[in-house]
Structure formats: structure tokens, C-alpha cells
């Protein structure tokens, strides 16, 4: 069971990792879409760093009064002639109000609760610190990131996205700033101003400001995507490494298996060849047996048919071998067989095949040999055997029958002929060579 589980695990290991990653990605995107909100609410009713402001700072005569309630601040003002662009409003300080402010750049929407009592627009300034333009103790050098709007009569907030802000053109002109450098930047806002807008009517008016709310995500979309991409990349890299090691391990294992198989194959081949050899050899004398002889006979038959190479067949039998066995025992008989085989092998060619035909009977298949040469060889063998001491107990002789193969002839006929010749040699007194020659009628 555990093996099956392991196999399933091995099969799906990588895919599981990808599925997990996919699920994590979906969850992360879902969480991003439906959560992970970063909301900061600036309730001005209890925010201490709020002051009223009017054009009196610029030489105007407008009057202003600030009042806090439980839920908002109320700015009462009277815009009067005096300054070219009379205004009144509040300043909300963030940080030190000069160089260190709040980073609002990661918020994607800004809510402003302003309820006017009067006509005209309202201006919202996000005053940004920029070291390139900032002048020491000069509040006007803070960048005027502005948006001007008609506030709603209801209690709903006005909502802006950062892209709706513009850097005030008059400020750009006054400070002689290259327009390309005067881009909206909300990364360091030390001061927020909410004022009456352009061409606000002279006279009394009121702004009720509840506060501001900045809403964004705890992580930027681009950061989330970047992180996910990195995670995917790293995961794929890890999978690649794992697969590489798996592949290397498999390769080593396969190689080991292959080597093992090759070893087994070699052992089997050796075993097979030994078996084949033993199946074709007579175990006592090392001569071919009949099984080994048949393949050689076929080869010689083919050679005779195709090339006309003569093949002769010398059949020999040890004379009175039964007497040797009966008199001296089978071990002496075996000694005769072994010594006779050795003697014959010394006298025949490598191309001749010596076969133990059975019992004390042997056959020499002489390739490329006509009958007269076979007879000559047999005679030499006969004389050599007669003169040799195969066993010390008595002299051993052999009788020979010779026949030559005829193309297309059934081998049985050849054996019969050689056998007849051998029989004739035995009948004629043994220790002689008889050739089976043609007789024409």
C-alpha cells in the first residue's frame, strides 16, 4: 500500500507543488481584492494640528474663525476684498509640517468630508516636500499638489485618486520650475490645506470639515505581482533542480541496472556457450558427439554441393574392445578411448572433425579430401595405432571403413557405405582399411 502511495506521490509530487502554488496565488489575489486594506482616517475633530488660515498672510483682509465640534471642525469666514484671490481655510499639519511629512503615495483613493455653506469650489492642497525646491522656513516652497472641486451638499465624501491631482501652475511659474520636474508627488506630505476655491464669492461662508480618509492596500499591486512572479520563478527553479537530480538519480540507477543486465547476459551467454559445447561434446574424450557432428556435416554437404569440395568419411572401430573391457575393466577401456583420441587428434588436420560415434566407434569427417587421401590417412592411422602403446596390458588395433560423400546424397547412405566398409574390414580380419568404392553395373 505504502509503495502505491509512494508511486502516486512520485507521479504527482511536482504537480502538487504547482497546484499548491496556484492555490496560494488565487488566495493572495482574492485577499488583495477583498482585504489587505490600509485605511487611515484623519478625524479633524480631535486632530490637534489643525489651524485656520486666510489671505491675511498674503496681505488680504478676509476674516476666519475655527470651531471644533464632536464630529468635525467648522470654519466660518468672511472673504473680503484686499488680496487679489481672497481665500480662507484650514491647514492640517502632518509630521513636522516642513520637511518630514506623511507618505500618501501608496493610497489609491482619498476621501474628503467637506460640507460647504456657501457657493463656489473648494481647493485641496497636498503640500509636498521636495528637496530640490524646498527653501528653509519658506512654506510656499512646498509643492502645491492640488485638486479643486465642488463639494457635495450631502454628507457623502468627495473621493479622489492621486492621478486627479495637479501641481498648481502658478506655483510652477513662480518658482520657475521645469514643467517636467513639476510632477505630482505624494511621497512626503507635511501639510494639507483645504481652502475656498478660485473666485469664491466675497462675503460670509462656512466650511464644515469632518476629516480625510486615505485608503489603499497594505501591499501595492505591482509588489504583489512581483512577489508572486518571484515565487513562481523560484518554485519552477526548484522543480527544475529536483527534476534534474531525479533524472541524474534515475540515470545512475538505470545505468546500474543496465550493467547488471549486461553482466547477467554475459554470464548467460557463457553458460549458453558452455552448455552448447557440452551438449556437442563427448565428456570422456572431448570429441564431438553426434549432435555436434550434424552441424559440421551440413556445412560440408553445402561445401560439396556449391564448390565441389570432396568430403570423406572415415569410420573406425577398436578391435576386440569388449574383450578389453571384460578383461581389464571399464577404466582401462576408458583409457584406451582417451589415448586413442589423443593419438588420432595428433595425426589429423584442424579442419577434420573427430566424432565419437558411440561406444568404441569413431568417425573422422575429412573436409576437402577425396577418398584416396582419406584411405591414405586411415592407413597411416592404422599403422600408428598398431605401433602405439595405448594401454600397457595389450596391443590395440582398429579397423577402418572409408567412404566419400556424393553431392545431394542422403547422409544415411554415406554412413551405411562407410559402415559396410568397416564391417568388411572386421570380417576380413580386423586391423585393416577398407574403402567403399563405386561399382558400376
Amino acid at each position: 500500500m505504502s509503495q502505491i502511495m509512494q508511486k502516486i506521490y512520485a507521479l504527482f509530487r511536482m504537480n502538487i507543488l504547482i497546484f499548491v502554488l496556484l492555490a496560494a496565488t488565487v488566495i493572495a489575489l482574492f485577499a488583495y481584492q477583498n482585504g489587505l486594506d490600509d485605511i487611515e482616517f484623519l478625524n479633524l475633530s480631535d486632530y490637534p494640528y489643525v489651524i485656520a488660515e486666510s489671505d491675511s498672510a498674503d496681505g488680504g483682509t478676509s476674516a476666519i474663525a475655527l470651531e471644533r465640534t464632536d464630529s468635525s471642525i467648522i470654519v466660518d469666514y468672511e472673504l473680503r476684498e484686499g488680496y487679489a484671490y481672497p481665500y480662507a481655510g484650514v491647514k492640517i499639519f502632518l509630521g513636522d509640517g516642513k520637511t518630514r511629512g506623511k507618505d500618501l503615495s501608496h493610497y489609491d483613493s482619498i476621501f474628503v468630508w467637506v460640507k460647504p455653506r456657501g457657493e463656489g469650489t473648494v481647493r485641496l492642497y497636498m503640500r509636498g516636500y521636495d528637496s530640490a525646491f524646498y527653501r528653509q522656513d519658506d512654506e510656499t516652497s512646498l509643492k502645491f499638489n492640488e485638486v479643486e472641486f465642488f463639494p457635495l451638499e450631502e454628507t457623502y465624501p468627495a473621493v479622489f485618486v492621486p492621478q486627479e491631482f495637479r501641481v498648481a501652475s502658478w506655483w510652477v511659474a513662480q518658482n520657475e520650475i521645469n514643467v517636467h520636474k513639476a510632477r505630482v508627488d505624494l511621497s512626503n506630505i507635511p501639510l494639507i490645506e483645504i481652502q475656498t476655491g478660485t473666485n469664491a464669492p466675497l462675503g460670509y461662508g462656512t466650511l464644515e470639515i469632518r476629516g480625510l480618509c486615505f485608503k489603499g492596500k497594505k501591499i501595492a499591486k505591482v509588489d504583489l505581482v512581483t512577489i508572486l512572479v518571484v515565487i513562481w520563478f523560484v518554485t519552477f527553479f526548484i522543480i527544475l533542480i529536483i527534476r534534474f537530480f531525479d533524472y541524474s538519480r534515475e540515470r545512475v540507477a538505470n545505468k546500474r541496472k543496465q550493467e547488471e543486465l549486461e553482466k547477467n547476459l554475459a554470464a548467460l551467454q557463457i553458460e549458453k556457450s558452455e552448455y552448447e559445447k557440452s551438449s556437442k561434446e563427448d565428456p570422456l574424450t572431448g570429441c564431438l558427439n553426434r549432435a555436434g557432428f550434424s552441424s559440421i556435416l551440413l556445412r560440408e554437404q553445402e561445401n560439396l554441393s556449391k564448390n565441389g569440395c570432396p568430403v570423406s568419411f572415415v569410420m573406425l572401430d577398436i578391435d576386440h574392445f569388449k574383450d578389453v573391457n571384460d578383461t581389464y575393466g571399464h577404466s582401462v577401456g576408458d583409457e584406451v578411448l582417451v589415448n586413442l583420441t589423443r593419438l588420432i587428434r595428433d595425426k589429423i588436420r584442424n579442419t577434420d572433425a573427430l566424432v565419437r560415434w558411440g561406444g568404441e566407434e569413431f568417425v573422422i569427417l575429412c573436409s576437402d579430401t577425396p577418398i584416396q587421401n582419406a584411405q591414405f590417412l586411415a592407413e597411416k592411422l592404422r599403422v600408428a595405432i598398431e605401433g602405439a602403446t595405448l594401454i600397457k596390458q595389450q596391443q590395440v588395433t582398429c579397423s577402418f571403413g572409408i567412404a566419400e560423400m556424393i553431392p545431394g546424397e542422403d547422409p544415411k547412405k554415406l554412413f551405411e557405405r562407410a559402415d559396410k566398409a568397416l564391417y568388411s574390414a572386421k570380417e576380413g580380419g580386423r586391423n585393416r582399411v577398407v574403402s567403399a568404392m563405386f561399382k558400376r553395373r
Binding site: I371, Q375, F376, G428, V434, S435, K439, R441
Partner: protein, 100 residues
């Protein structure tokens, strides 16, 4: 023509050690055997088994072979006695002596 086979026995005997030791002896024995096996007198012989005793000796540089049928009963037949001369580079010819 019907093909059949007959036994042929050749027993070789040198009359001198020099003849036995002659370098061309083996070749001559083979040639004479082959010639005999093709010889019409031998091939058409009525004798079932022809057995020759072949005695050979030196005559100058040549070897002279003389074959006799060992079976006295057929010694009068033409194929029962023959002679052959064998020398280097010469073709062996077997001459039958019609039993004389």
C-alpha cells in the same frame, strides 16, 4: 547405369627401408589408390571384395609398385595383378597383367 559400391583393400608394404623413406611415397600411394578406384577393370570386377597386397621398392629415382590379389581363388582374373611406376612429375599408369 546403377551405382553401387564395393570394398577395396590395399595393404602397402615396402621391400626396402629406402622405399619406405622415399619422400614421394605418400603422394604415389594416394595417386595409385585414386587410379585404381577409377580403373575399369577394378570398377567392373565381379569380385565382391578386392584386396591387394602392394609391394613397392625403388628403381633408380622412381618407385615401382606391384599389387597382387591376396585371395588365391581369384588370382587368375585380369584385375588380380598390376604394376605401376611413380616418379616426380609423371602421371601414374597402372598396368594389369591379366593374371600372368
Amino acid at each position: 547405369m546403377e551405382l553401387d559400391f564395393r570394398p577395396l583393400v590395399l595393404k602397402w608394404k615396402a621391400d626396402t627401408p629406402e622405399a619406405e623413406a622415399d619422400s614421394s611415397k605418400d603422394s604415389c600411394v594416394i595417386q595409385i589408390t585414386a587410379t585404381l578406384m577409377r580403373e575399369p577393370l577394378v570398377v567392373k570386377s565381379k569380385v565382391e571384395e578386392l584386396e591387394y597386397l602392394v609391394i613397392y621398392g625403388k628403381e633408380g629415382e622412381k618407385l615401382v609398385f606391384e599389387g597382387f590379389v591376396t585371395d588365391k581363388a581369384v588370382s587368375g582374373k585380369p584385375e588380380s595383378h598390376w604394376t605401376a611406376t611413380c616418379g616426380k612429375g609423371e602421371k601414374v599408369v597402372v598396368n594389369f597383367h591379366n593374371g600372368q
